[in-house]
C-alpha cells in the first residue's frame, strides 16, 4: 500500500474520504436547493372529468391543507373549457383536492403529497366527478 505521506500535501488535504463524502453531501444539498428554487411556484394543476372521461368546464376545485391533525380549506379554483384548473398553494406539503359541479357530481378527495412546500405539481389522474347519488363524497 502506498504510504500516505508520499502524496503531495494539497492532495492529502483535498482527496480524502472526509472531504470527498462531505463535499458530495454539500453538492447534493446545493443541487436540491437549486431544484427547489426552480419548481417552487406553488402551482397545483390538474384536470376534472366526468365518469365518461370528458372534461368538465366550470367545476369548482377545492384545496385543503393539513393543519396539525385536520385538513382545512385553503383555496378554490375553477376549471376552464378543457377541464383544467390551476390553484396556487404555498402553505403546505400535505394537500387534498376535490372537485364538484352542480348537476354533474362530486369527486372524492385526492391526497397529494409534496417533497417541499410550494412545489409545482400536476395531478397524474384527473378528478372524476361522480353523481352524488352514486356515492361521491
Amino acid at each position: 500500500m502506498r504510504d500516505d505521506f508520499d502524496r503531495p500535501l494539497w492532495r492529502r488535504l483535498v482527496v480524502n474520504r472526509f472531504v470527498v463524502v462531505l463535499g458530495a453531501i454539500a453538492l447534493a444539498i446545493v443541487g436540491w436547493n437549486a431544484y427547489v428554487a426552480s419548481y417552487s411556484g406553488g402551482r397545483v394543476t390538474g384536470r376534472v372529468t366526468d365518469t365518461a372521461g370528458e372534461p368538465v368546464a366550470g367545476a369548482s376545485v377545492t384545496l385543503w391543507v393539513l393543519n396539525f391533525t385536520t385538513y382545512v380549506e385553503k383555496a378554490r379554483g375553477v376549471t376552464d373549457a378543457d377541464g383544467r384548473f390551476l390553484i396556487i398553494n404555498r402553505d403546505s406539503h400535505n394537500l387534498q383536492l376535490a372537485a364538484e359541479k352542480a348537476g354533474v357530481g362530486r369527486s372524492r378527495r385526492v391526497p397529494v403529497r409534496l417533497y417541499f412546500r410550494a412545489q409545482d405539481v400536476e395531478l397524474r389522474e384527473p378528478l372524476v366527478l361522480v353523481p352524488t347519488s352514486q356515492g361521491g363524497s
Binding site: 474520504r17 463524502v21 409534496l114
Partner: protein, 270 residues
C-alpha cells in the same frame, strides 16, 4: 499446522451482524413505510415505500434550526475535547508530585453520574452568564475523563526518547504536544472526535435544563417536542430518528478505522 474451516466463524459473525443491524433496518423501513410497529405479522419488506415522512419531519418542527444548534454545540464540544483532553492526557504522561492522587481523582469522578452534578453545573453556567447559549450548552461536555485516558494511552505509546529529542531541540511543552504528540495520535483524536460528537449530539438532559427559548433547543429536545405535537406519527417519528442518527453514523463510518485503533492502542502494550 491444521487449518480449521472458517465458514462457521463467518456464519456466526454474519448472524450476529444481522441481529445487530436489524433494529436499524427496522427504523429505516418504518420511516419509509409508516407501518405500525405492532402490525402482525410484521412485513420485512416495506410496502409502497416513499420519502414523504421525511418531509413531514422536516416541516412539523423547525428541524433546520435544531439541526444547526446541534451542529454548533457538537462542534464546540469536539474542538474543546480534542484540545483540552490532549493537554490533560499529556500532563498525565509526565511525572509530577501528586500524580497518583490526580489519577485517582479522575477515576473516582468517572463514577459520579452526571445527574448528581447537574445543580452545581447549572449554577456555574448561570454565574458565567451562559444559560440559553451555545457555549452554555457545550460547557459541561468540553472535556471527558474517558477521552483524557484515551489520549494518555496514546501518548504513553510514544517513545520517551522522541520527546527527549524534541526537548533537546528546544521545543517547549506546548509545541511538543502539538508538533510531536498530536501527529502521532491520530487514532486518539478520531476517538475523541467521535465520542465527543456522539455524546454531545445525543445529550438530552443538559440541553433540557440549560435552554429557555425554543430557538436554542437541540435535536433530542426537538424529538420530545415532535412527540408532543403529533400522535399518529409512526412514519414521521422514525424518519425523524433516522435524520437525527445519520450524522453520527456517518461520522463513525468515516473515522471507524482510527476510532478502533484509538480504543485499542495501548491495550496490547507490554
Amino acid at each position: 499446522m491444521r487449518r480449521y474451516p472458517r465458514w462457521p466463524i463467518h456464519m456466526a459473525l454474519l448472524t450476529v451482524s444481522v441481529l445487530m443491524l436489524l433494529p436499524f433496518y427496522w427504523v429505516v423501513k418504518t420511516s419509509v413505510s409508516g407501518e405500525n410497529i405492532f402490525a402482525y405479522p410484521p412485513s420485512v419488506i416495506p410496502k409502497s415505500p416513499h420519502l414523504f415522512y421525511y418531509v413531514d419531519a422536516w416541516y412539523y418542527i423547525p428541524f433546520a434550526r435544531y439541526f444547526v444548534n446541534s451542529i454548533v454545540v457538537s462542534s464546540i464540544a469536539v474542538v474543546a475535547n480534542v484540545i483540552l483532553n490532549a493537554m490533560a492526557g499529556y500532563a498525565l504522561t509526565r511525572d509530577f508530585v501528586g500524580k497518583p492522587f490526580v489519577l485517582f481523582l479522575f477515576l473516582s469522578c468517572m463514577m459520579i453520574p452526571f445527574q448528581a452534578t447537574i445543580i452545581p453545573a447549572y449554577l456555574i453556567t448561570g454565574r458565567l452568564g451562559l444559560l440559553d447559549s451555545y457555549w452554555g450548552l457545550a460547557l459541561p461536555q468540553c472535556s471527558t475523563i474517558v477521552c483524557i485516558f484515551v489520549f494518555k494511552g496514546s501518548f504513553d505509546a510514544v517513545p520517551r526518547s522522541l520527546v527527549d529529542a524534541a526537548r533537546i531541540d528546544g521545543l517547549s511543552e506546548w509545541r511538543i504536544i502539538w508538533k510531536v504528540m498530536m501527529p502521532l495520535a491520530k487514532s486518539a483524536i478520531a476517538t475523541n472526535v467521535i465520542l465527543a460528537f456522539v455524546w454531545s449530539w445525543n445529550n438530552f438532559m443538559w440541553p433540557l435544563i440549560v435552554t429557555r427559548s425554543a430557538d436554542m433547543q437541540t435535536l433530542p429536545l426537538g424529538l420530545a417536542r415532535f412527540l408532543s405535537y403529533q400522535e399518529d406519527t409512526t412514519g414521521a417519528l422514525y424518519a425523524f430518528c433516522v435524520m437525527v442518527l445519520a450524522p453520527g453514523v456517518l461520522l463513525f463510518l468515516l473515522a471507524q478505522r482510527e476510532f478502533i485503533q484509538g480504543l485499542t492502542s495501548g491495550a496490547t502494550k507490554g
